[in-house]
């Protein structure tokens, strides 16, 4: 039995687990109705929590602001993911080739996993200023290491039988890497990409909370400072939707790429 990781549970898997989407949809609907009823029954002041209809109205009214902010946040997230995936993959190949390099730096790569890297946000802003660079570096630092670890686990996890078979065919080290190790590592690499994407969202959003010059994080901080709670809730829900859509899209892409594993 493999220890489960967060990555193996994603929206699409959830859909596949249940026989119908009806029940979970019903649960979400019930949450919405319960929210609405609770707000009107207990006369919750809209400053504290506006009802779902008020939030929806705000989304429609402020659509331009929210759309621009979401576009800025999303483009930074995608950029951070791209940088982390490319550099993380390259690092894992370099580390994977040489046992000495692996032994030298892998303990440090693992150790970074227990450091709360979001705390770097104020430090990065002091060094790189309030702007996109700080957020990108923060998101990169958070999302780079999971990519390295997953890719490396994939490359090094090739079965011995496969390796011996390739060696018996007189394959060179390079051929073994490209034709045996990498194809076998694709599922691990893709789950690395999903973890990377998930934490990149967190990096960019926390970055926007601290360096408030653009994006949905700025909308949240600004609106909560001016007590416009409907807008705060709307922007928070948008970030959730954004993260969900991103992971859902990656999950669908994964199913296409590693179709031979769709039974898992």
């Amino acid at each position: 039995m493999k220890p489960p990781t967060m990555s193996s549970h994603s929206p699409v898997t959830a859909y596949r687990h249940s026989r119908g989407v009806l029940i979970p949809c019903g649960v979400f609907l019930a949450i919405g109705v319960g929210w609405s009823l609770a707000v009107s029954a207990f006369k919750v002041p809209p400053l504290l929590l506006p009802g779902p209809m008020a939030v929806f109205r705000t989304i429609v009214e402020e659509r331009e602001l929210l759309f621009q902010a979401a576009a800025s946040t999303l483009s930074e997230i995608l950029l951070a993911i791209a940088i982390a995936v490319v550099t993380g993959f390259a690092t894992a190949i370099l580390v994977g080739i040489s046992p000495l390099v692996r032994r030298t730096i892998f303990p440090y790569i693992l150790a970074t996993q227990v450091v709360p890297k979001v705390a770097l946000a104020p430090i990065l802003i002091a060094w790189f200023g309030i702007g996109m660079e700080s957020r990108l570096i923060l998101a990169f630092l958070i999302s780079y290491f999971p990519m390295v670890i997953n890719t490396l686990a994939g490359i090094l996890g090739t079965s011995d039988a496969m390796l011996r078979y390739a060696q018996s065919l007189a394959a060179s080290e390079w051929q073994i890497l490209v034709k045996v190790r990498l194809p076998a590592a694709i599922p691990a690499i893709l789950s690395g990409v999903k973890i990377t994407a998930g934490v990149a969202v967190i990096g960019i959003v926390v970055g926007e909370f601290v360096a408030t010059d653009s994006g949905l994080g700025k909308v949240i901080i600004d609106s909560s400072a001016s007590m416009d709670t409907a807008l705060t809730v709307a922007a928070t829900l948008l970030i959730g939707t954004l993260g969900l859509a991103l992971l859902g899209a990656l999950e669908l892409a994964e199913r296409r790429i590693v179709y031979w594993q769709s039974g898992s």
Binding site: P3, P4, T5, M6, H9, S10, P11, T13, A14, Y15, H17, S18, G20, V21, I23, P24, G26, V27, F28, L100, R103, T104, I105, F106, P107, Y108, L110, A111, V114, V115, P116, V118, A119, P122, I123, A126, W127, P146, I149, N150, L152, A153, I195, G198, V201, I202, V206, F209, V210, L216, I220, I221, S224, T229, T232, T236, I239, G240, G243, L244
Partner: protein, 256 residues
């Protein structure tokens, strides 16, 4: 992801290349900064970071205490409630089909974004931070518990039934030990997440805590102080993780 439990085993056999590499990096950092950096406050060498830690130790500890308590409470709450919900979900087919997808969706949503709303609802104090730590750490616990309980195979179940196990024996001798591996794997994920939750809430709003102190130090461009606080946070994260690994080695000793 590769098993982080192996980290502990790795450290016990002294890894000389890694030690030399670490020492080289620190010396290089020290030398370069001393030679090139215009300001030691903005680009501090490691010695200055350690000196800041020494000089401000009392202040750091004063702010570390709430952070430590909140991460612990948030983490323990997420373990207790997460295991309870995960267990209930996995025992009923209807509940599983209704709630598991919801849990999985909420797991994927970036809950750090809730920090400002939680501060609005619960104030910029202990409650909002513990709540964020709990919310972030809770869902991996539910998912891992559900996975652990449901992965019990039918052969094991049949075998236990053939031995005339009663319900209690089945729970304590079969189900719990079986699910423990997965629950502990979840705890290793959740424990680091709970630190992140508290720190994010402290950075967004607050009057105390290491995240707040870090924001304060960085806004005064005292980077030696900032990095010293980061070091304390890293050590706390590492200590919590190590504690869970130790617990794992005790609890699921048969898997070593």
């Amino acid at each position: 992801m590769i098993s982080l439990a192996r980290m502990g085993a790795r450290w016990r056999a002294v890894n000389w290349p890694a030690l030399i590499f670490g020492a080289a990096i620190v010396s290089l950092w020290e030398a370069l900064v001393r030679a090139l950096a215009p300001s030691q406050s903005l680009f501090p060498p490691p010695s200055y970071v350690m000196w800041s830690l020494y000089v401000r130790f009392d202040l750091i500890m004063e702010h570390a205490w709430p952070t430590f308590c909140q991460t612990l409470v948030g983490f323990l709450l997420s373990v207790v409630l997460g295991v309870a919900l995960g267990w209930i979900i996995s025992k009923s087919r209807t509940l599983f089909e209704a709630l598991y997808p919801v849990v999985v969706v909420l797991q994927v949503v970036p809950k750090e974004a809730l920090a400002p709303l939680l501060v609005l609802w619960f104030g910029a104090g202990t409650l909002s931070r513990t709540a964020l730590a709990f919310l972030i750490a809770f869902f991996p616990m539910v998912i891992n518990t559900t996975f652990g309980v449901r992965s019990l195979n039918t052969a094991m179940r049949d075998y236990a039934t053939s031995l005339l196990c009663n319900r209690w024996q089945f729970f304590t001798k079969v189900e719990l030990p079986w699910a423990l591996t997965s629950i502990l794997a979840g705890m290793k994920i959740s424990v680091t997440l709970s630190v992140i939750g508290v720190v994010v809430a402290e950075i967004v709003a607050g009057r105390n805590g290491l995240g707040y102190l870090l924001l304060f130090a960085a806004s005064r461009l005292d980077m030696g102080f900032s990095l010293a606080i980061l070091l304390v946070l890293a050590i706390w994260g590492g200590a919590l993780f190590a504690a869970v690994v130790l617990l794992e080695q005790r609890a699921v000793y048969w898997r070593r």
